[in-house]
């Protein structure tokens, strides 16, 4: 078999043993890699209904079909577990060297079972598995841990996926980091923390061969050159932070806990400003010829030296969303999140919830007391210094930081129960996960995509904001086309997420990013790697199966139609300023759009999946368990 080794590595943390599961080629043809394969592994290995922190919730890593080859941007892997934030599938993608090391070690996937008695660093050394004592690594930051492991093992080629102090402390929204990139959202870091799993390290020394190297080399070379041109200029020069002013001009930039969509300080926290005043270097993930990661640094003041890669999503969450117009604070906040290994988006949106709660006088200074501030401190919007103190308290679970480390859903419910308040109304979450940097009040199709998303309201998985922003539909209205649009964009995104390929390459195949422009080249790449004969329709199927297995997982974990919802603010509290002011998605509109979406997917009115549909997709075992 080319492109795969035919082997999944299973590891039991408690018994400290490992075994190999062989998978047939047909299985790989269905799930390919990344998010789809990781979810499928989770489906196969989880005990349904278990608690996310129990021994029965597996950690599932799925490699990429193109990992370790020169196929541009193919160095990505998928990570899935049951999410402790949503109770549904927590599927994430990360990239870079860890993926490639795993591929060279001979593994298509890894499933980690059970809970370790002591803190452990798994070391996968080609086909050997070592359970290393991780005590000396505890308390180390994410990048720090990687370097420490490399030193311990005397090999620069050892790559590690790690959790930082936040994961060790069980911050619910902690994430997993490798090579400076994050498998973010949904709380993987706390799942690993619950297993006392500090890091998974890999060394792979074998070569990777493909079925048709001449074709693969030619295609890869051409795409690599194309990736230096205008189709990627905005990524290379500014990175994703270019979205700050874009969204501000459309009135969609989440400001002060999503209360408005325009931020008066947007220029000062824009990608342009970042580029001019804080840029250090633009670097790439392994196997990526684009290079979009804008490494940025605080160059003066109390946080001088703080440096990390800045993306739009972390920027909005810790800048405009907190009312902060000073990038020095924003970079510092994001670097706290990155070093300690917690999700910068959830962190920012939880802090903004706390800020609004303070502004509404439900929280007072005293609520924020801690060792360094025995009288607490003020947490008004725009107070960057306080935001930094609070981020550290969350990381350490100190004082109220412990409550906030649970994320907005649990934090708001707890406060409302204790104090008889209604802070849940401004807790920006759906299914327990906080949304992304696009205010859905001005994006009706995206509102639908956010509500039905299997991992929660995610722009990356839904991608439905595209038709709204491009003007293909009226973004302020609802009509009968929205179900199809939300389904199409979701399945399109799922293809990239399940190969995986980074979506930033999408225009570099033929100049057009739509299915007709991308699928033929993707089919060629798959066939040159594996020797298969995939056609256009087969690429479509990748996206359909990926979204279906994720939905099936959720159904088995107890999903119901009412779980597909939106944050209260997006349904009841219109913006008052800017081009997107005055709109919400009403209950009626949402239910109507959900009907359209379920119909488009071929599901029942309750959003459940007919047995035959699953059988037609080749998912017989899924049909048996949850098919209607």
């Amino acid at each position: 078999m080319y492109g795969y080794h035919g082997k999944i590595l299973h590891i039991d943390l408690k018994e400290q043993k490992h075994w190999v599961e062989e998978k047939p080629e047909d299985w790989y043809k269905m799930y390919i890699g990344g998010v789809a394969m990781a979810t499928r592994l989770c489906w196969e290995n989880i005990k349904p209904g278990c608690d996310a922190y129990s021994p029965d919730n597996p950690v599932c890593i799925a490699n990429g079909i193109f990992a370790g080859t020169p196929v541009p941007v193919g160095g990505k892997y998928g990570l899935a577990s049951k999410s402790p934030m949503t109770g549904f599938i927590g599927d994430s993608l990360s990239g870079s060297w860890f993926t490639i090391a795993l591929k060279r070690a001979g593994w298509d996937g890894v499933v980690i079972h059970n809970i370790s008695d002591n803190w452990v660093n798994i070391f996968i050394d080609d086909d050997r598995v070592e359970f290393r004592d991780a005590t000396s690594l505890l308390g180390k930051g994410t990048y720090e841990t990687e370097e420490a492991i490399r030193e311990q093992l005397h090999d620069d080629q050892v790559r590690s996926a790690t959790i930082g102090p936040s994961g060790e402390n069980m911050v619910r929204f902690a994430n997993v980091t490798n090579d400076g990139r994050q498998a973010g959202r949904t709380g993987h870091g706390s799942v690993w923390g619950s297993k006392k799993l500090k890091a998974v390290s890999v060394r792979g020394t074998h070569g990777i061969a493909v079925a048709d190297p001449d074709v693969l080399m030619k295609l890869s070379f051409d795409i690599t050159k194309e990736a230096q041109g205008p189709h990627t200029s905005k990524y290379r020069i500014l990175g994703t932070s270019t979205n700050v002013l874009n969204m501000n001009k459309l009135g969609l930039l989440p400001t002060r806990n999503y209360s408005e969509g325009v931020f008066e300080g947007a220029e000062m926290v824009s990608g342009e400003y970042l580029h001019e005043h804080h840029a250090v270097k633009t670097i790439a993930c392994a196997q990526c010829p684009i290079a979009c990661e804008q490494m940025s640094m605080v160059k003066s003041g109390p946080y001088e030296g703080a440096m990390t890669g800045i993306e739009y999503e972390c920027l909005f969450a810790n800048g405009p969303n907190l009312g902060i117009a000073d990038l020095n604070y924003v970079i510092k906040l994001i670097s706290i999140a990155d070093q300690s290994g917690m999700d910068a988006m959830t962190m920012g949106i939880t802090i903004s919830w706390a800020m609004e709660t303070y502004e509404k006088k439900i929280f007072t200074d005293k609520d924020f007391k801690c060792e360094s501030h025995p009288d607490g401190f003020a947490l008004n919007f725009g107070n960057g210094q306080s935001a930094v103190f609070l981020a550290e308290m969350i990381r350490d679970r100190e004082g109220i930081g412990a409550l906030l480390s649970e994320g907005t859903r649990i934090a708001s419910r707890t406060i409302d129960t204790e104090r008889g308040t209604e802070t849940w109304k401004w807790a920006m979450q759906s299914k327990g996960l906080e949304p992304a940097g696009y205010d859905a009040r001005g994006l009706k199709t995206f509102a639908l995509g956010s509500s039905v998303g299997t991992r929660g309201p995610c722009h990356n998985r839904s991608a439905a904001y595209d038709v709204d922003i491009q003007g293909v539909v009226d973004r302020f209205k609802v009509d009968e086309t929205r179900g199809e649009h939300a389904k199409d964009s979701e399945e399109y995104a799922a293809v990239y997420d399940s190969l995986p390929l980074c979506k930033f390459i999408r225009r570099c195949f033929t100049g057009k990013a739509d299915r007709a422009g991308a699928w033929p080249t993707i089919a060629q790449l798959i066939n040159a790697t594996t020797g298969w004969d995939f056609k256009y329709e087969d690429i479509d199927m990748i996206g359909i199966r990926a979204t279906t297995i994720k939905k099936a997982f959720n159904i088995r974990e107890g999903w119901k139609r009412s779980d597909d919802s939106l944050p209260w603010r997006w349904m009841h509290d219109p913006m008052t300023k800017g081009p997107s002011a005055g709109h919400v998605t009403t209950e009626e509109e949402l239910e109507y759009m959900k009907d359209l979406y379920y119909t488009a997917k071929g599901w029942t009115k309750d959003g459940l999946i007919p047995k035959q549909k699953l059988i037609d997709l080749g998912m017989d075992d899924v049909a048996e368990q949850i098919g209607i």
Partner: protein
């Protein structure tokens, strides 16, 4: 530090342009072995502190220390190109050459039990494949003198013209 002559070319990497993508490693190993494997690449990237990144391949030192160090006389240096040649019949993988190389540009193949060193893809029509592929044009086939000229030209552009434009 060994001396280098102005006549031998070598593959050089500009750390300001290098993004750490490692495509050079995959392409080099593929060219030599038909498989993608960083361990089998003759050019190796190195990354420190997240932003310091560069790639290193054989520097074709004059009077190469690796050649002098080899106890089996398995290494020789082409007098015209400076490229180091490994005689497979003599090399016994003792790794003294690895010790002698200050640049870390030599690796040992555990399967063939031979030293592996960049040979600038002498057998390829379009020359060093890593240079051909590098997406950011960070790699060049250059001589020390040409490299120094480039630095001087860039210096003048940045410091003198750059300042004039700003002021």
């Amino acid at each position: 530090m060994p001396t280098s002559t102005s006549k031998y070319q070598y593959v050089d990497c500009d750390p300001d342009k290098c993004i750490g993508c490692q495509l050079c490693e995959y392409v080099c190993s593929y060219t030599k072995t038909g498989e993608y494997n960083s361990y089998r690449s003759r050019i190796r990237t190195v990354r420190v502190d997240e932003v310091l990144i560069t790639a290193i391949a054989c520097r074709t030192c004059e009077n190469a220390p690796c050649v002098r160090a080899c106890p089996q006389d398995a290494l020789s240096q082409d007098p015209n190109t400076g490229i180091i040649l490994v005689d497979a019949s003599k090399c016994d993988a003792c790794a003294w050459c690895v010790e002698a190389c200050d640049f870390g540009a030599i690796s040992m193949n555990p399967e063939t039990k031979l030293a592996e060193i960049c040979d600038q893809c002498e057998d390829q029509e379009d020359g060093p494949q890593c240079v051909k592929w590098c997406p950011k044009e960070a790699l060049t086939l250059t001589t020390p003198d040409q490299r120094a000229q480039k630095s001087r030209r860039e210096l003048i552009k940045e410091e003198i013209i750059g300042n004039k434009a700003a002021g």
